[in-house]
């Protein structure tokens, strides 16, 4: 008799010892919740700083400036080619820290689970988070789990917050842009968004689409260690490369121009975008960032970045044309025609024909 069958029988006042699916009691503070923490969460995240029997983790942070950020993850499906919500939640927050040049140290994790969701899926997510955290050399030190009624969630939502240390004196800001600065993108664009969309909608393409989900702290640290002094960096998540650069241009009051032919896009992403009427420049990435730095550092930056597997396709895609002006991102297409790229209105929706 399975655990589920046992529980669907006559009502029994005895507590449920274990369950294949998430129950409201898993978030209730009683035995079931304790078992969940003891069996799944703590073993996966076990590390010296972890809060186990206290209400908070206690940390020793290195002296100097720290960076602190938070992000929530609601991706559907939970598991997709190239990653899952857990890996995404670790890499996403690590990357937010990395974009200000911080070395990520500690993460918190908050789970909101939906009643009825498979416990084995939680095991997979937690294991994936641990692997991603180890790879990014960051520790998950505190967390929380809540359960909502069946139908009130989408399986699992994850929030991660992160703390990192800044081991340099740079202030990365779009306001620091100078005419002639170069724009580098760390890899090919559009893979995450198209992979998730094809997994979500069951679209099959000839060439497999896989998310680029990856932590970017190591390549950024390598960039800084090599003496590069980025003006600004931005990960190209929601809204893609175009949105990240438009934000930089507008905030910094600078006119940027990128060369369409230079922006790397895999054949699989290009094909899927052509078919669905989407623009890869606006499709989300989870392991790709853009960096603007002085022109004499471009070659060094590319050499350093390309040593990291997540940035092997790093390439110079454009320049800062002018500063102290109206912020605009210009795009030179393959025919040599320039046009302005602007924020999209709403999400990109696949077209009719």
């Amino acid at each position: 008799m399975s655990a589920d069958e046992r529980e669907s029988g006559p009502a029994c006042p005895l507590p449920v010892a274990s369950s294949a699916t998430i129950r409201l009691a898993h978030g209730g503070g009683g035995r079931l919740m304790h078992d969940l923490l003891q069996d799944i969460i703590w073993p996966a995240f076990a590390n010296p700083a972890a809060e186990t029997d206290c209400d908070s983790a206690t940390l020793c942070l290195p002296p100097g400036r720290q960076a602190f950020t938070t992000d929530s993850f609601v991706v559907r499906p939970t598991f997709f080619p190239g990653g899952d919500i857990g890996k995404l939640a670790v890499c996403g927050t690590v990357n937010d820290l990395a974009m200000v040049g911080a070395r990520p140290l500690y993460l918190s994790v908050g789970f909101i689970l939906e009643e009825g969701w498979p416990v084995d899926d939680l095991r997979r997510v937690v294991a994936s988070m641990r692997a991603a955290a180890d790879a990014a050399q960051v520790q998950i030190v505190t967390g929380d789990t809540k359960v909502v009624d069946h139908g009130k969630g989408d399986g699992i939502y994850v929030n991660t917050s992160g703390v990192g240390v800044l081991e340099h004196d740079l202030t990365l800001t779009p306001a620091a842009l100078q005419p002639g600065d170069v724009i580098i993108v760390s890899g090919d664009v559009g893979r995450h968004g198209m992979a998730v969309m094809s997994a979500r909608e069951g679209l099959a393409f000839e060439q497999a689409l896989e998310s680029d989900c990856a932590a970017l702290a190591a390549p950024v640290q390598a960039l800084l260690a090599a003496g590069c002094t980025p003006r600004v960096m931005r990960d190209c998540t929601r809204g893609g490369l175009a949105t990240a650069l438009i934000e930089i241009a507008r905030t910094g009051g600078a006119r940027l121009r990128i060369e369409g032919r230079a922006v790397p896009v895999t054949a699989a992403v290009r094909g899927a975008c052509e078919l669905l009427g989407m623009d890869p420049l606006y499709v989300a990435n989870e392991g790709c960032f853009c960096v603007v730095l002085p022109p004499d550092q471009a070659e060094r930056a590319l050499t350093v970045l390309r040593r990291d597997p997540a940035c092997a396709r790093a390439v110079h895609i454009g320049e800062v044309l002018e500063t102290q002006t109206r912020g605009q991102l210009w795009y030179r297409n393959e025919l040599g025609v320039d046009r302005i790229l602007d924020w999209l209105s709403g999400e990109q929706l696949p077209r009719i024909c």
Partner: protein, 368 residues
Amino acid sequence: MKYIDEYHDAAAVHKLVAALRATVTQPWTIMEVCGGQTHAIVKYGLDELLPPEITLVHGPGCPVCVTPVEIIDQAITLAQRPEVIFCSFGDMLRVPGSAQDLLAVKAAGGDVRMCYSPLDALTIARDHPDREVVFFAVGFETTAPANAMAVYQAARSGLTNFSILVSHVLVPPAMEAVLSAPHNRVQGFLAAGHVCTVMGIDAYHPLATRYGVPIVVTGFEPVDILDGVFCCVRQLETGRAEVENQYARAVRTEGNPRARQLIADVFEVQPRRWRGMGEIPASGLGLRPAYARFDAATRFALDALPVADSGECISGLILQGLKKPHECPAFATRCTPEHPLGATMVSSEGACAAYYRYRARHAEDASS
């Protein structure tokens, strides 16, 4: 990527532009019929490469743009019904009805689902026998075969909880409406390549002859479009008015006979109202009586009272090639993709949306 790279080739583009410059001797106005072509022209800046004698005007070939408000309102009414799962292509979801759009219905709890094919809606109907599944069957001759197939399969498999809300329109009658309008300025057409892959090119011969206009069946990539313009100008300059097939890699003279047969089996030609253009005779498709039980408008006894378009919106003039988006006083000021006055500002293939996305900030610069 095959079939893409060679049609984006800068050398080929510039060669065609040079050939056009060498050929053109006087002003010509050419309409590209399909919204996909409009989008490509503005996105790649092809009109900026053309000699000044050639003016491209944008045609009525955006299915989202020409769907009348009353049908959007019908869709919204259906989507609000608790027993209905309303399925639609993505870009119909943002089109405003008289009070709201389908995304707002979804946000308020309506079961609105984005589908990539009407056959996905059939699967949903099979999986939810206790619900009514309605697919929003919008589009030109390009989407008609798949919609016909969905109805045909539903009939064959005895599905009783599936229906379609039909708003199908046909390209040749719209071209004729443009040509016969009193202020028509269109002297040649780039016909919509994908429509012709289904329907073939025979329907265009009478139009070319009767109105004395060249009609060039044209593809969607930059080289295709410039080649289509070149073929059209070459005919205009030599006084010819013929049907020419630039898109021969995809379009056969007879089109796709099996798809045509399927359309003819399931649908019949009917008069239809076009947003911004009014009623055009024999310009739409409706379900044949044998398939009437799959017609959502009948099944749910929906009213179809015509709703007037926004007074300020000039999309009707734009869809007939009489005005360009930036000639509208509301363009990019009172009418934006966030607050559209008409559907041409909403659809990804609408002329106003294309101008807004690729040109609005140029206009801002010019005025500042």
